[in-house]
C-alpha cells in the first residue's frame, strides 16, 4: 500500500471528524449547554398559548434556558411548565416574573423572564432549584385580543 493512500485516508478521516466537531460546536451550541448543567424551576400559567417543550426562556433576548416539560395540574387544571435554566444563571430573585411572549407577529412563542430584586429585609431571597415562580403572565391569545377589542369598540 502506497504512502499516498495512507495520507489521503488520514486527511479524509481528519476532515470528517473536524466536520462532526464543528457541527457540534458551531451549529448546535445550545444542545451541549442545555445538557446536564441546568436546574429546574416550575411555573403555573393560566394559559400557555402556543408554548412548546424546548421553547426558549429569554432574559432581555438572551437565552437562559429551555422548557423541558408541560403538563396539567391534577387539581386545578392549570398548565404547569418546567423550566430548565442553565447553571450559570442561578441568582434569580423570588420576585422574578414570567410572561409568555411572541417573537414577531407570527413567530414562535417563548418565555420572557423579568428578574426582580433580591431584598433580604423584605424576605425576598434567591430562587432555589425546584421552586415555583409565583408571578406569571399568560400568553396573549390573538383571538381573545381581537374579541376584547371588538367588545370595547361596541361599548363606545
Amino acid at each position: 500500500m502506497s504512502k499516498k493512500i495512507e495520507i489521503w485516508v488520514g486527511f479524509f478521516v481528519a476532515l470528517g471528524i473536524a466536520a462532526f466537531v464543528s457541527l457540534a460546536l458551531n451549529v448546535a451550541n445550545s444542545g451541549i449547554q442545555g445538557g446536564d448543567n441546568s436546574y429546574q424551576l416550575y411555573a403555573k400559567f393560566d394559559n400557555i398559548g402556543g408554548l412548546k417543550v424546548r421553547s426558549p426562556i429569554k432574559v432581555g433576548g438572551v437565552v437562559v434556558g429551555r422548557i423541558s416539560d408541560i403538563r396539567l395540574d391534577a387539581e386545578d387544571y392549570l398548565p404547569i411548565v418546567t423550566l430548565d435554566i442553565y447553571e450559570e444563571y442561578n441568582q434569580f430573585s423570588e420576585a422574578t416574573s414570567l410572561s409568555i411572549l411572541t417573537a414577531g407577529l407570527l413567530g414562535e412563542q417563548y418565555i420572557g423572564l423579568e428578574p426582580g430584586f433580591v431584598d433580604e429585609e423584605l424576605g425576598i431571597g434567591i430562587l432555589q432549584p425546584n421552586d415555583y415562580v409565583e408571578d406569571t403572565k399568560s400568553a396573549i391569545v390573538l383571538e381573545e385580543l381581537i374579541g376584547q377589542f371588538l367588545f370595547s369598540q361596541s361599548e363606545d
Binding site: 500500500m1 493512500i5 495512507e6 489521503w8 485516508v9 486527511f11 479524509f12 478521516v13 476532515l15 470528517g16 471528524i17 473536524a18 466536520a19 462532526f20 464543528s22 457541527l23 457540534a24 458551531n26 451549529v27 448546535a28 451550541n29 445550545s30 444542545g31 451541549i32 442545555g34 445538557g35 424546548r54 426558549p56 437565552v63 414577531g104 407570527l106 413567530g107
Partner: protein, 257 residues
C-alpha cells in the same frame, strides 16, 4: 389460475432466497470485522477508494445545495421579515434530511455502483472462485473490508456534506444577501439541537448500512457475465436509492414526531 399461483409462489420463493443470500453475506461481513494485522491495510485501501474518492462530489454538491437552500429560503423568509431564521432553516434541513439523504444517494451512485461492478467483475473473471480454491474466504477478504469501509465512510461524508452546505449557505446568505452574520449563527445555534446532529448521524449510519450492503450483495450475487454485471450495477443504485428514501421516511417518523 393455478399457473398464476405457481408464478406467485415462484416469485415469492425467489425473493426469499435472495433475501436469505443477502443476509448470509451481511452476517459474514459483520462477523469478519477487519483485524489489525491483515485486515487493516485492506480496510484503509477501501476507505481510500470508497471515501476519499467520493470527497469531491460530496463537497461540490454540499456547497451548491447549501447555496441554493440559502437563496430559496431567503426569498421566502424575507416576505415575513424572518430572514433571521435562514440559519436554522438551512442547518436543520441539512442536518436532519439533506445531509444524510443526498449523501446516501450520491454515495450509492459513486461508491455503491463501483463496489458492485468491481465485485461483479471479480466474480466474472473467477477471481473470487480462485480465492476460494486458495482456501481464502472471499467474504472475509473481499466483501468484509468493503462493507466496513462503506459503513465507516458514509457518516463522515454526510458530516462533511452538512458542514460544507452550511458554509455555502453562509456564503450566499451572509456574504451575498446581507443577512447579519451574528444573527445567522446565533439563531442557528439557538434552534439547532445536539439531538439533531445525533439523529442525522443515526440516519447516515443506517443509510450507509443499507447502501453498502446492497452494493456488495448485488456484486457478489450477480450473474457473472457483462450483462449480469451491468444489470447488477443498475439495480444496486436504483434499489439503494429507493430503500434510502423509504427508510428516511420511517426514521423521520420515529425521530421527529
Amino acid at each position: 389460475m393455478i399457473k398464476r399461483f405457481g408464478q406467485l409462489g415462484h416469485t415469492t420463493l425467489e425473493l426469499l432466497a435472495g433475501l436469505g443470500r443477502a443476509l448470509i453475506i451481511l452476517l459474514s461481513a459483520i462477523t469478519h470485522m477487519p483485524n489489525i494485522r491483515k485486515g487493516y491495510p485492506l480496510f484503509v485501501k477501501q476507505v481510500y477508494s470508497v471515501g476519499v474518492l467520493s470527497l469531491i462530489i460530496i463537497i461540490v454538491s454540499g456547497l451548491f445545495i447549501g447555496m441554493v437552500l440559502a437563496l430559496q429560503g431567503h426569498g421566502v423568509l424575507i416576505d415575513y421579515g424572518a430572514e433571521a431564521s435562514l440559519g436554522p432553516m438551512v442547518a436543520l434541513s441539512l442536518l436532519r434530511e439533506l445531509g444524510p439523504v443526498v449523501t446516501a444517494l450520491l454515495f450509492a451512485g459513486r461508491a455503491g455502483s463501483a463496489l458492485t461492478a468491481e465485485i461483479g467483475l471479480m466474480k466474472a473473471t473467477e477471481q473470487l472462485s480462485s480465492m476460494e480454491m486458495m482456501a481464502v474466504d472471499p467474504l472475509r477478504r473481499v466483501i468484509a473490508p468493503r462493507f466496513w469501509a462503506g459503513l465507516f465512510c458514509m457518516p463522515l461524508l454526510a458530516a462533511i456534506f452538512s458542514m460544507v452546505g452550511i458554509f455555502g449557505s453562509h456564503l450566499v446568505g451572509v456574504v451575498w444577501l446581507g443577512v447579519d452574520q451574528g444573527t445567522f449563527w446565533s439563531v442557528m445555534q439557538g434552534d439547532v439541537d445536539f439531538a439533531d446532529i445525533v439523529n442525522g448521524t443515526i440516519k447516515a449510519v443506517s443509510f450507509a448500512f443499507v447502501v453498502t450492503w446492497i452494493a456488495v450483495f448485488k456484486g457478489y450475487d450477480c450473474v457473472p457475465t457483462s450483462e449480469g454485471i451491468s444489470r447488477a450495477t443498475t439495480s444496486s443504485v436504483v434499489q439503494a436509492s429507493l430503500v434510502v428514501l423509504g427508510l428516511d421516511f420511517i426514521l423521520t417518523a420515529i425521530m421527529f414526531t
